[in-house]
Symmetry: C2
Subunit: 578 residues, 2 copies
């Protein structure tokens, strides 16, 4: 009867998973936490006698689970969801992704991890769990709130970004280190892959689904969808990308066909079962004996993840012109790690290129945030109410006028009048120049990675080279900064004029005060964001030592001076006006 | 990238299975045939370079598939379906199961296989595929016909019988040979198992399902159902029974809870996917190079399976008082081997106790009958019409009067009038005495298996012992035969009286003619059935040689004499009357 050992393993896994998740549902905790803990319970590290015999087979099955899980997320992903929120989701998502990536990278460096390890931690931290968050919002009856629509939009942006990031990272992880040639070949493969996926998708997938649908058989739809999913996963695997990326993309392609609902219905149970297996097997990989070695790292990661996510998303949403309440709801709705973070950790650790400790840290972060999310989501409204009650009059006025101004910009983008068009024009210029600065910092960051190579080639000291590169970046940024500044002033002038002509409430403040306050606030916000996003660059410069340290110190001094003057200006304006 | 080999295997299996079944659906063939052929195509025996690497893992997954497949059949099984057809389904099912078992056993002996091998072939041949037949009937829009309801009822009876047979057989197979002690211990385990299943089922299952249902989560329902399924499969495995039996029983228990529909919806896709994997893996086990060694056996098995199923079910249905048309529809609806036959073959071959050749023979039979079923089902009505047109007047009259009489009995069983009660009384006596004869033959058959043991113990020649046993059976049958004969006469008398009093059409024949015709027909039918059911006994006696051959020869002579007189009587009566 030896051949039925897998049935036994399966019975044990499903029984423990079923029992623990029922208990967790009762305790109103998300099932993912239950699965992870079920895995921890039956882990060979936890039990003296291993309950599950075919651990390797279960791990192989978990791979299928990962593919089906991301396929399912792809199925639910749709362009219409992004379109429903408009340009706002990519902007908030972009701000948040950069912030989380920089924070995660910085944290990895703080742990003393290598560059690649830190990049993987940053990648794992940039993304929230669509599956869990959407489920919690639905369970709370909040799915129709504006904030929930924004959250779903941001999640979709994150998922899509994650697919690209996983593809790039698994490329880097398999080649070990990244050289320019590697990245070039990787980019080429990515382009081929996306072109193949889109070509395959646009031409073949709808036809295959249509032919299958004609048989009016749910079984046929299921088998066809799953085979398409695995073919695509395999294709992306052959191109050196990840199975996850392929599964997600084909899911998104099938999700765009007109029978996506039926397919979703038949695929969901299969995905749920394999996902359970995936999460349990993830839990099983945790060595409880090493608890001490990862728990502090995991707690630090979780704390930074939660704070970073709340801050990044609240700030991003607020900057896009939504009220403080909505912004805080979006911010508190996001700090939940999940399937994509685990996929990224798995991709890295399985390839052997990344520190194995990444695994338990990400798993524990997923577990901890699964536990905290329901409470944090409920905090948004009480905090907003508390702030409204406790805040002093000047601060309330400040928030109202700043929010009014941002709202004015957003409105201007949906209008076609003459002043609105001018606002749109300068708004785009502000955005473009800001992006230019971000891109320059990004290029500088990757250039610093090659300082050692260039140093041996040019016989220059690495720290001096680092200093040269950072000054070069600053110099290159100057034109963009000037254009940014000029357009920001224009934008502020025009929006205030526009607001004054339409809203009587804005007239309570005089124009000069408004100018100072808004300009100051924008500069403070963007400086903080830029500072966070420069963390990888600064850390790289610091590691070069001696002269290279000068650049970050000078930049920091400028930043502090700048922030303090801006804040002081805003403060004095508020004092004198009210 | 080694860890993704299972994803590759899965992609290949699903792609080939998906492609082939789409083609087969197009050709209007059942998908099971497609899966088997897909398996044959990617079989390591077929391809020079094996496409699928983790064959062992795929086989382990196929075990999960078998469990889920039988769980799904159990879910669809329900007592209400049996109740809808009444007592008729068990009677037809019983007649057919005995017939097929005897024919299959005889065929196995003809192939020169051992007793155990022949028993397994008989067991594999006794059962039709619920999954395929129900699907074909639904596809043809026939699900509401009386014949289709009868078919479903018979299928349910077969499934339930199969669970007991698999449990007994897997017990026998693991202990190798069957001794009285083994069978005793097996029966004890079976009783414990059924008691545990029913206790567990009645007390726990509805509560667990109810608790799970409260969370309004399809995922929770799915995980709970699947864990119950695997726990039960494991339990039955531990008791030395088969995983299939446990999965089917728990399925039937869950199918009786009030949320069975929702559970069926979520379990179906998971079952469909694993079933596809199961059928493909079955196909992969076929060695195409051994094609010559099994194809003739498979063709013989298929031919006997198709003929036996049509004959047994048509005859059984007709005997239960349905029209010739309905009977033929039921008969032609049944010859389709499927999942249970494969499960029985797998149980036997995997245990190592049964000839490996059984596997390809049963698989090929499943494939061949999958191919023939749609055509055979469509034959029923044309054949009935052809017979109606071509049959001579006496035969039509004969069929009409016999059918009227049987219909009269069936009606009497649903009435409470005085004559009806007398018919019921004698009808029950006829049935009980007939069953007594069947049981005596059954006991004699198993007794003959131990002739060699008894012979060495008593120092008697085995053939003389065989002769003694068979005469003992005949002697023991005498009282039952007398009671049978007397009650049959009573039954015929009373039914004819009853019919004459209610139906004018029956008056066209005089009473004496009717008596002879009906008595003769019943005796011919039952003699043929008894002769078929005695095949295992006769074969066993023949194998003892010398004197033991006397018994079958004498019995055969009696049978032939009896049949010829009965047929001659009926014929002459028909000649003189019409």
């Amino acid at each position: 009867m030896e051949e039925f050992t897998l049935v036994k393993d399966f019975a044990i896994i499903m029984a423990v998973a079923g029992g623990v998740t029922l208990l967790f549902r009762r305790l109103r905790q998300p099932p993912i936490l239950g699965y992870l803990i079920a895995g921890l319970i039956i882990s060979p590290y936890t039990l003296p006698i291993p309950l599950v015999e075919n651990i390797d087979t279960i791990r192989l099955l978990a791979d299928l689970g990962l593919v089906l899980l991301l396929f399912g997320i792809g199925l639910e992903f749709s362009w219409s969801k992004i379109r429903a929120v408009g340009l706002v989701a990519p902007i908030i998502g972009g701000i948040e992704i950069f912030t989380m990536f920089a924070l995660g990278y910085g944290l990895g460096q703080l742990f003393g991890w290598s560059t690649l390890d830190s990049i993987f931690l940053g990648a794992a931290m940039h993304i929230s769990s669509s599956a869990i968050i959407v489920k919690i919002l639905r369970d709370m009856g909040r799915q129709n709130l504006l904030s929930s629509k924004l959250i779903v939009g941001i999640l979709v942006v994150e998922d899509f970004a994650a697919v690209i990031i996983i593809a790039v990272l698994s490329g880097i992880a398999t080649t070990g280190a990244a050289t320019f040639g590697d990245i070039g070949s990787l980019m080429l493969r990515l382009i081929i892959f996306f072109a193949a996926a889109l070509g395959f998708g646009a031409l073949l997938v709808p036809r295959i689904i249509e032919i299958t649908h004609r048989f009016h058989s749910r079984e046929a739809l299921l088998i066809t969808s799953i085979s398409l999913c695995f073919i695509m996963a395999l294709l992306s695997e052959y191109l050196g990308l990840s199975v996850a990326a392929g599964a997600f993309l084909i899911g998104a392609l099938i999700g765009d066909t007109k029978h996506s609902k039926e397919i979703d219905q038949v695929v969901t149970p299969v995905r749920d079962m394999f996902a359970a297996l995936f999460f349990v097997s993830i839990g099983m990989l945790i060595n409880i004996l090493q608890f001490k070695s990862f728990i502090f790292l995991a707690l630090a990661t979780s704390a930074l993840f939660i704070l970073g996510k709340i801050l990044g998303n609240t700030l991003g949403t607020f900057l896009c012109g939504f009220t403080g309440r909505t912004s805080l709801r979006v911010g508190t709705g996001m700090p939940q790690a999940g399937e994509f973070s685990l996929a990224i950790a798995k991709t890295g650790v399985d390839s052997g290129a990344v520190i194995p400790l990444l695994y338990p840290v990400v798993v524990a972060t997923t577990a901890i945030t699964s536990f905290t999310t329901p409470y944090i989501i409920r905090l948004a409204d009480p905090i907003t109410d508390l702030l409204n009650r406790r805040a002093s009059e000047p601060i309330k006025r400040y928030e109202a006028s700043f929010s009014n101004w941002l709202h004015g910009i957003r409105n201007a983008f949906s209008s076609r009048s003459k002043p609105a068009q001018e606002i749109q024009h300068s708004g785009r210029n502000v955005l473009v120049n800001f992006l230019l600065i971000v891109v320059l910092i990004g290029i500088g960051t990757s250039a610093v990675q090659f300082v050692d190579n260039i140093a041996t080639f040019t016989h220059l000291r690495p720290d001096i080279l680092g200093l040269l590169i950072s000054f070069l970046i600053v110099v290159l940024c100057v034109p963009a900064l000037i254009a940014f500044w000029r357009n920001l002033r224009l934008l502020i002038d025009e929006t205030i004029k526009y607001l004054l002509s339409r809203r009587s409430s804005a007239r309570a403040l005089n124009q000069e005060t408004l100018h100072t306050i808004i300009r100051g606030s924008i500069m403070v916000t963007l400086s903080i964001l830029l500072a966070i996003w420069s963390i990888p660059l600064i850390i790289s410069l610091l590691s070069l030592g001696s002269f290279a340290i000068a650049a970050p110190i000078i930049l920091l001094a400028i930043l502090i001076y700048f922030l303090s003057t801006s804040v002081r200006n805003i403060h004095s304006q508020l004092e004198t006006t009210f």
